[in-house]
Amino acid sequence: MNDLKRTALYDEHAAAGARLVPFAGWEMPVQYRGVIEEVRAVREGCGVFDVSHMGQLDVTGSDIATALNGVVSADWSKVGVGRVAYALLLNEAGGVIDDIMGYRLGEDEWMIVVNASRAALDEPHLQAHLPQLSIQNRYANQAMLAIQGVQAVEKLQPLVDGLDLSTMKWRDCQQASLTGAKGLLARGGYTGCDGFEFMFRAEDAPQVWRALLDNGVTPCGLGARDVLRLEAGLPLYGHELREEWTPQESGCAWAVKFDKGDFIGRAALEAKGPATQRIRGLKVQTKAIARDGYPVTKNGNPVGEVTSGTLSPTLGSSIALAMLPIGLSLGDTVEVVVRNAAHPAEIVQPPFVAHGKK
């Protein structure tokens, strides 16, 4: 594990009893006390995730929104200063390179957060297609925390200097100070719950982390994060999002805007006919747990494959996302094949767990 990078919170994770595993080149906490307990902490209280492994890119330059609009699928020209937006990076064939978040910090200043597993591809892709912009990564000295849960506001508020969190709307972002540590605070997250993200200097990370834990926030690992995003029906790169699948196939057509100028992948998407397959939600009718790669059949005939699956601790049942033929409809029953046994599953519309706000 010598080649793995560590976040500024490595010692804090060890102190909190984390089980550390390799993830996208980083040594990251997969869980502390247990995945189920950490999922419950977010759904009923508040949890904090160290997501410092995610790539943070500072992007500056004149007419930046127009330039970015040529490489992202969404219409970022409509994103105001102090707002956050989701988008896909597409390749020329219309396949998904990554899904990213853009934070508009100023008229000519953005920050882009990318998946750790794709950062090494995203940065050169953006550099190559946006030579007129300055693109700097902050990997060396940056931390990022996701503070998530129905009690996120009340658990975070006491740490914030001079800002009423209730004034921040979903997907607002602004400069803020937590226990004196300055950084960018955004309301949002990847758990299907209320929450905030804070991006700040690595050297301040242990102090903010400890203040959160001291205020009753539960440390949560990547295991709980994956379960929470799956309960919320949110896609994960490498599972629902892949370079060989279009946004339509991945169930992210909503993140592609054709009523704007040209962007990478547009021509290929327009040239393609309607998608013949797409990601769907599955509720498995037995206790068997569907896992990534398990076959899906319809009346015994192979029709697709599970892309993510877990036991939902919140629902107490087995849920999954799967790539299925477009002809199958909501309410249809298919079978997930678990170790050669077919388990019936109903096609449902995610989210599996409704968005949790207090």
């Binding site: 997969v30 995945v35 189920i36 295991g223 747990i289 896992r291 877990t310 036991l311």
Partner: protein
């Protein structure tokens, strides 16, 4: 790590208790701890045959699937069905209420690679080498 002295252990973290020609099999405290909260268990039917190092079932946590390997050959004569309904028993009591199957041994001479408690403790302390 709890390692009772009266049991034998496999390198894949199952324990076995032999009484006459009947063996009771479960997973060790180390295994349940590594796996985390067990949420699903799949066990064979009574009458099934098991063989050394062949999967006879699985235990799953939210994030992981772990095969159950029989340390011995024989016929399944009892299955602990309560753990299927309440898998957390395996975390709470891996050596007692969390047992999984009872097997009528086809050979009462146990495989030589089974470890006693001291050897298993050393094996796990050494990271499974």
């Amino acid at each position: 790590m709890n390692v009772p002295a009266d049991l034998k252990y496999s390198s894949s973290d199952e324990w076995i208790r032999v009484e006459g020609d009947v063996a009771t099999i479960g997973i060790t405290d180390y295994a349940q701890h590594e796996l985390g909260e067990v949420v699903y268990v799949e066990l064979p039917e009574v009458g099934a045959t098991v063989s050394p190092d062949v999967s006879f079932g699985v235990v799953e946590s939210v994030k992981a699937v772990s095969e159950l390997l029989s340390p011995v050959a024989g016929e399944v004569i009892a299955v602990n069905t309560p753990v299927s309904d309440e898998p957390a028993i395996i975390n709470d009591a891996p050596y007692t209420d969390g047992w999984m199957i009872r097997v009528k041994l086809s050979d009462t001479n146990l495989p030589s690679d089974l470890m006693d408690a001291a050897a298993y403790t050393a094996y796990r302390a050494d990271g499974g080498h």
